[in-house]
């Protein structure tokens, strides 16, 4: 894949000299703003964005509506379109059908362990790639980035056999260990350390006699706190939402993560009761929605920044 990867960047490099650095861009923009009246945003733009926002948000709103109503209210024509008062009743049925507290706890344990592990291990590797000099560094970094294009889901049969050999079926280790470090994380952290940790600072610490691990822990890590928290958030959300791999390695309800439990709830019901299913996904989605409401700006920023880096 490395040859194919060259293509896009070659173009970036050509256009790079023409691109002004980020900060001064606002100055001409402001000038233009004053000069030209039709730089203003027309009403049509807001209609387009309003419709888009509606389609983005409606399915989630609908999730709350169905989750909080009786099936009969939703199954009417025309159906009810506002949240009702049945949420707790529906949720109670979720807890009857699957050990949902346990499933929530499992998801939290796995996601938090993966978030912490990914931040620390990726930062460590990123630190080595950004600030340490060793033979093969460039080649190894290219290799790391190249692995991002490998469709690993296809290796699921032997992956399962390995987990089985290790005796980790139905064990949360089966989810945590493979998720501890990712190519994306390493690359992300390398860029962050490269951008925000001056070589002089590392050199100064070395002259003071700090060893690599100490430089990493007391200088590199604190300097990349924002990038590290964004990576932690991504890792948490990805782990929380992961479905395919947990479905493969977990087969007893007590070991299920939220996503697998919800699939169980859906596929084993004799009568489809969307109120109960939706109550389940509300419970499984609310933690992420809360994170998003609190830190959405950082998440949006992280994705856009990640796009520029890659």
């Amino acid at each position: 894949m490395s040859r194919t990867i060259d293509l896009p960047t070659a173009d970036v490099d050509e256009s790079a000299p023409a691109a002004p650095p980020r900060a001064p861009r606002s100055a001409p923009a402001a000038r233009r703003r004053r000069r030209r009246a039709h730089g203003r945003v027309g009403w049509f733009t807001y209609v387009v964005l309003g419709v888009t926002a509606f389609f983005s948000l409606f399915p989630l709103y609908w999730m709350f509506v169905v989750a909080s109503n009786d099936s009969s209210a939703v199954n009417r024509v025309p159906p009810v379109v506002v949240p009702g008062a049945q949420f707790l009743d529906n949720a109670a049925q979720v807890f009857e059908a699957v050990p949902f507290w346990q499933n929530l706890a499992n998801s939290f344990i796995v996601s938090i362990a993966i978030a912490i592990g990914q931040v620390l291990l990726s930062a460590l590797a990123g630190f080595a790639f950004a600030k340490l000099d060793f033979p093969g560094r460039t080649a190894l970094l290219v290799l790391v980035v190249g692995t991002m294009t490998v469709p690993l889901q296809l290796a699921v049969v032997p992956q399962f056999m390995i987990i089985n050999e290790l005796g980790w079926v139905n064990d949360l280790k089966a989810l945590i260990v493979p998720g501890l470090v990712t190519a994306f994380g390493v690359f992300w952290m390398r860029q962050a350390i490269d951008n925000s940790l001056p070589d002089e600072l590392v050199d100064a610490a070395r002259i003071d006699g700090a060893r690599n691990l100490r430089v990493f822990w007391s200088i590199a890590l604190p300097s990349i706190r924002p990038a590290a928290s964004v990576l932690g958030l991504f890792a948490f959300m990805t782990a929380w939402n992961d479905f395919f791999w947990p479905l493969i390695v977990l087969n007893s309800p007590g070991a299920f993560t939220v996503q697998v439990a919800l699939r169980q709830l859906q596929s084993q019901a004799y009568v489809t009761d969307y109120g109960v299913q939706m109550a389940g996904i509300v419970l499984g989605t609310v933690p992420l929605l809360l994170i998003f409401v609190l830190l959405g700006r950082q998440i949006v920023g992280g994705i856009m920044e990640g796009a520029l880096k890659s």
């Binding site: 293509l7 960047t9 399915p59 340490l132 470090v181 691990l213 479905f243 596929s267 959405g296 796009a307």
Partner: protein, 313 residues
């Protein structure tokens, strides 16, 4: 993906001098966790998949070497071609409109004086933080035959109720909608990031020449974000061809076969069915390699197509 840039940068760093202890093992220890995890749960299993695919391999029963018989069976298996076709249809139906809409939305969001900018960006991204399972269940309800909102709306406008799950195109359309809903906003933000680094001067000189917004979009924006378009096309190809959870959930109890008559079974589902339902590890591994081949071929075709189309515009 900025490989050449990385190369240039790091050789510059090296020129700085041998600060880091050259012969120390420390750096290798720091990067070892990634390579250990990737080796154990990525590279090795992928290679081992090829090995297993040459066996009649049942995890509980016997393992017998059968050469390329699994592949011979696969080529003769109508279920494989059905799944391959469904996968490609779902991928096209979800990816093409998704990326086109994302490009336009990004251009709309890229206006300097837009109000509620952060709000709109967050709104388009919300679907992406919703789990595939939640997306699947919500849309399965929305696409319900008797009480689904979509049929209610169709009926309101005088149309006929559609049995979305039953039909083959209709079910693939529904599955594609789920994929699209979840990923359009994400790609929008990727494009938006790329558009923000286009020099304003390009637009200003086009305006002096009298170019309108659509012309500017086609002659400046698209060529300028071409590398990003190629990047997203590749990522959506690799991801989109492995669609699994959406059709599984949409099928309810018949999810593993992608509907009663396999009308929306994808290759990833077929792999799962053979491997973990029927415990045919050898056959499932052959499916995995076939899917891998399809991904590689379509990625190369797309790379060629998208770089040509983007450069012509």
């Amino acid at each position: 993906m900025a490989t050449p840039a990385l190369v240039a940068e790091s050789s510059a760093l090296r020129a700085r001098g041998p600060r880091g202890r050259r012969r120390s093992l420390t750096p290798y220890l720091y990067i070892a966790p990634f390579f250990l995890v990737f080796g154990a749960f990525g590279a090795f299993p992928l290679a081992y998949t090829a090995f297993i695919s040459l066996f009649d391999w049942n995890p509980i029963g016997e393992q017998a070497f059968i050469g390329f018989d699994n592949y011979v069976d696969l080529v003769a298996d109508p279920r494989f071609w059905n799944a391959a076709w469904n996968t490609v249809v779902i991928w096209v139906l979800s990816t093409v409109p998704q990326l086109a809409i994302a490009l336009v939305l990004a251009a709309v969001l890229n206006q300097a004086l837009l109000r509620f900018r952060t709000g709109f960006r967050m709104a388009v991204l919300v679907p992406n933080i919703t789990s595939v399972l939640a997306v699947g269940i919500i849309f399965t309800q929305l696409f319900g035959r008797d009480y689904g909102m979509i049929n209610t709306v169709i009926e309101f406008f005088g149309g006929q109720r559609i049995d979305w799950v039953a039909g083959s195109f209709s079910s693939q359309f529904a599955v594609s909608t789920m994929v699209m809903w979840r990923w359009t906003g994400y790609n929008t933000l990727i494009y938006l990031a790329a558009m923000q680094s286009i020099p304003r001067a390009l637009y200003e000189s086009a305006e002096i020449d009298g170019a309108g917004p659509i012309r500017k979009f086609l002659t400046i924006t698209i060529p300028q974000v071409r590398p990003t378009i190629i990047f997203t096309v590749i990522v959506s190809t690799i991801g989109g061809l492995q669609v699994f959870a959406e059709p599984l959930v949409f099928g309810g109890q018949a999810g593993v076969t992608g509907g009663q008559s396999r009308q929306f079974q994808t290759l990833a589902l077929f792999l799962y069915e053979q491997g973990f339902r029927n415990l045919e590890f050898g056959y499932a591994s052959a499916i995995a390699w076939a899917l891998f081949l399809i991904i590689v071929v379509l990625t190369i075709i797309n790379l060629a197509l998208s770089s040509r189309i983007a450069s012509e515009k």
